[in-house]
């Protein structure tokens, strides 16, 4: 599919929300996971294939330390999670990327590892970045315990009781991943090695598979320790709470530049989402069952918001507002109202008076009952292209492209100090991205090229003194310093959703908005910001477990809530 913003379906011209509306940090920072998220796609495939997870190795001692292997066939290949659980003193427990030890560490292995492989991995996996890996390893990750919940669950299960419902709702995970690496990092397999496999062709499918398997390991781990402690008194996790326990994650600045450094990938993700939304909005009538489903999900989303807790004042305020707005949406979107023509378009239009959080929540809800229409939109799209120069373009055309695609950048006043308050750089500590205060910290001379808007202005200035009929090719021979930004401009012409249309070095830039956009694309929920630079989230909460992935409700887990019936069980 070509990267045009107005595809057609069955001859109907679809109207997508334009990039200038969608690609703003404030909106991207309000995205919710949809049924098109990477996790949802993985679970649908696992369910479709009736995947069976086996556990060929379980060498875990009574205290929960040792190693384990889980294997699952998917798309004709077998993948194995190799897990290591090691003692960790509290003073060494850190979610920061500079940590050097973790409660648990993992690789996703291509195939089933032999004993020799396990011994090699045992020497390297617990060291994470300090180890070296082979192309048989597809994903490298680690996770720390949620100290709050882990011991509580073990203690309860060992005494024959289920965990406290309120604690489960409030925290929602036993372990929290702090990094999930793929695509060749530290010697693991390049994505090019696996991207043509049907199961792993989609973005981040290997990573999502690894995290889903980690989740299953966390369930087994607490049940194992509880059994060791409680003997015959111990009980397993009840099905409802097991399903409600996801995997936590702590994500910081390290992820933020990804969206900037992968413009065509970002465009593809946004185009799929916006195309799906446009297709649903173009539906003239909603079937009664679709209306019923939507209204059920509205109620569930409201309850889900009630279980979403955070100490971050900004996010807490947003949750408070969206809870009220969702009630307004439910009052508006009655069955009768939705039965009128173009219900989804009317709802999206009406929602523009509400907060961005509510608007994007409704986008997710509107998409949810329309899987038959949208799930396979991107199935035959080609993988994201490497951005390229269009050498024959004249500078006159390049100027026009800048005016059309980057008016937002040209409008910024970089004379104002706050417009260049920050600089992005790579730290010496762990070669991870950081954000510095230009006027109070050293290192701005090593700035990463995330100052796209400022570079656009520099390019525009250079073009003013150039022959408009000159080609881009000859221009770049004499101005190689502008090659990066010219490539971005020309990429944006064919990939209009490829650029974040905000100044990323401005004093009011909130990197967490970039994080939330990407994490929502993963399928993450329960965003719990700890600052404007990092957040905790929950992954796979509500998703089918190893023993329920073959069930008929495997795709029904958006906006998860802990079953009310669970309260009765724990009393």
């Amino acid at each position: 599919m070509t990267a045009t913003p107005s595809p057609t379906v069955s001859g109907t011209h679809l109207k997508l929300r334009p990039p200038e509306q969608v690609m703003r940090l404030s909106r991207m920072g309000a995205f919710y996971p949809t049924r098109l998220s990477f996790m949802r796609k993985l679970i649908r495939r696992l369910s479709r294939e009736q995947a069976v997870v086996s556990r060929p190795v379980w060498e875990i001692d009574a205290d929960g330390y040792g190693r384990a292997v889980y294997s699952v066939p998917l798309g004709g290949d077998v993948y194995s999670l190799v897990a290591f659980s090691t003692p960790l003193a509290p003073e060494h427990r850190s979610d920061r990327v500079i940590a050097e030890a973790w409660d648990t560490t993992y690789v996703l292995y291509d195939g089933v590892p032999t004993s020799r492989d396990l011994d090699r991995l045992a020497k390297n996996v617990p060291r994470q970045e300090a180890g070296r890996f082979a192309r048989t390893e597809l994903v490298l990750c680690r996770a720390n315990k949620s100290v709050r919940l882990f011991e509580h669950v073990v203690e309860r299960l060992s005494h024959g009781r289920q965990p406290d419902a309120e604690t489960i709702r409030r925290i929602g995970y036993l372990l929290r991943t702090t990094a999930v690496y793929g695509n060749g990092k530290f010697g693991i397999a390049d994505r090019s090695r696996i991207e043509m496999r049907p199961a792993l062709r989609g973005a981040f499918q290997a990573e999502m598979l690894a995290v889903w398997l980690v989740r299953g390991f966390t369930h087994d781990l607490v049940e194992h320790i509880a059994r060791e402690r409680g003997g015959s008194h111990a009980v397993p996790l009840q099905a409802a709470v097991k399903r409600h326990i996801g995997v936590g994650n702590a994500t910081g600045l390290g992820m933020a530049p990804f969206l900037i450094s992968h413009p065509t990938l970002l465009h593809n993700w946004m185009l799929e989402r916006e195309t799906a939304l446009a297709m649903v909005r173009a539906e003239r009538r909603a079937a009664p069952e679709t209306i019923d489903r939507f209204r059920t999900l509205l109620g569930r989303a409201g309850q889900h918001l009630g279980e979403w807790t955070t100490n971050d004042a900004i996010q807490a305020s947003r949750i408070h507002d969206v809870r009220q707005e969702l009630k307004d949406a439910a009052a508006l979107a009655t069955s009768a109202w939705l039965a009128e023509p173009f219900p989804w378009n009317r709802l999206v239009t009406h929602a523009e008076r509400w907060s961005l959080e509510c608007q994007e929540l409704l986008v997710a809800l509107i998409l949810e009952p329309h899987g038959h229409l949208i799930d396979d939109i991107a199935q035959h799209w080609s993988n994201a292209q490497t951005p390229q120069i269009a050498p024959g373009t004249t500078l006159r055309q390049l100027n026009r492209h800048i005016a059309q695609q980057f008016a937002w950048a040209l409008a910024i006043d970089f004379e104002a100090p706050e417009a260049s308050h920050y600089f992005w750089y790579v730290s010496e500590d762990k070669q991870e991205p950081r954000l510095g205060d230009r006027r109070n910290e050293a290192g701005a001379d090593q700035e990463m090229p995330l100052d796209v808007a400022r570079q656009i202005q520099a390019l525009a200035q250079a073009l003013k003194t150039s022959d408009p009929d000159e080609t881009t090719a000859t221009f770049l021979i004499r101005r190689p310093d502008l090659r990066y930004v010219v490539r971005r401009v020309q990429t944006a012409v064919r990939h209009p959703y490829s650029e974040v249309q905000d100044n990323l070095i401005s004093a009011d830039c909130r990197p967490i908005d970039l994080l939330r956009c990407k994490l929502a694309q993963f399928g993450a929920s329960k965003f719990d910001p700890k600052s404007d630079r990092w957040t905790r989230i929950t992954l796979f909460q509500g998703a089918p477990t190893f023993d329920t992935i073959q069930g008929s409700d495997a795709d029904d887990w958006c906006f998860p809530i802990l079953d009310q019936g669970y309260e009765t069980v724990t009393q």
Binding site: G184, D429, R483, K530, W534
Partner: protein
């Protein structure tokens, strides 16, 4: 050392930028190095040798049948030679006094990947053809690039029918060369400070919760 192709791409790009090359040039050199390694050649060594400090802007003159780069510093010429041919595939680009021909082959490789075509690199010394190398997106056969210091002309050609090489071949990079690449890349890293550690994500917070 057995880095992944992605590691090679990233480290070589950072090394180029660390030496002082523009970021966009670094991106191309990184990709070219990874392409060469995937084909079984010393792409990292070629890139590191080619990006050493020196003139970074190429001089190009239009000619009747194409363009000529004088004193062709390959890293400075970069993908420009191939971009000129993209404008008019019937012409040719001549590079005089090529300094690092192996990197030039790598750049031809990624240009072929990007546009689905192929390039014929013809070496010429004192009017005599010394070597011809046909570069497709996933194939280039040559014993060694005997083109250093010579004139190389580049023309569009027909992609070869060879089956793609195993692009997952385990890349082996000389340890000393890799260390050199890492050292150059590290020039762009910023040392931590009290301020940066205090402002870092998660600073001052406990994770024992």
């Amino acid at each position: 050392m057995k880095p992944s192709l992605n590691e090679i791409n990233v480290v070589v790009r950072k090394a180029a930028v660390g030496v002082g090359w523009p970021y966009g040039v670094g991106e191309d050199v990184g990709r070219a190095a990874a392409w060469l390694v995937a084909q079984g050649h010393d792409g990292v060594g070629a890139a590191i040798a080619a990006i050493q400090p020196g003139a970074s802007v190429a001089r190009c003159e239009p000619k009747a049948d194409g363009w000529t780069f004088l004193h062709a510093r390959v890293a400075a010429v970069g993908l420009s030679a191939f971009e000129l041919l993209a404008i008019d595939p019937s012409r040719r680009v001549v590079l005089r006094n090529v300094d690092h021909p192996l990197l030039l082959i790598g750049l031809a490789g990624i240009a072929a990947v990007d546009n689905g075509g192929a390039y014929m690199l013809t070496g010429c010394s004192t009017g005599r053809v010394t070597e011809r190398i046909n570069v497709s997106a996933n194939h280039a056969t040559f014993a060694c690039a005997k083109l250093a210091g010579e004139t190389v002309s580049i023309e569009r050609s027909i992609p070869s029918n060879h089956a793609p090489l195993e692009t997952q071949a385990v890349a082996v990079v000389d340890d000393a060369v890799w260390r050199q690449a890492l050292t150059l890349a590290a020039r762009k890293y910023v040392p931590g400070s009290e301020t940066s550690r205090a402002h870092g994500a998660g600073a001052g917070l406990t994770d024992n919760d």
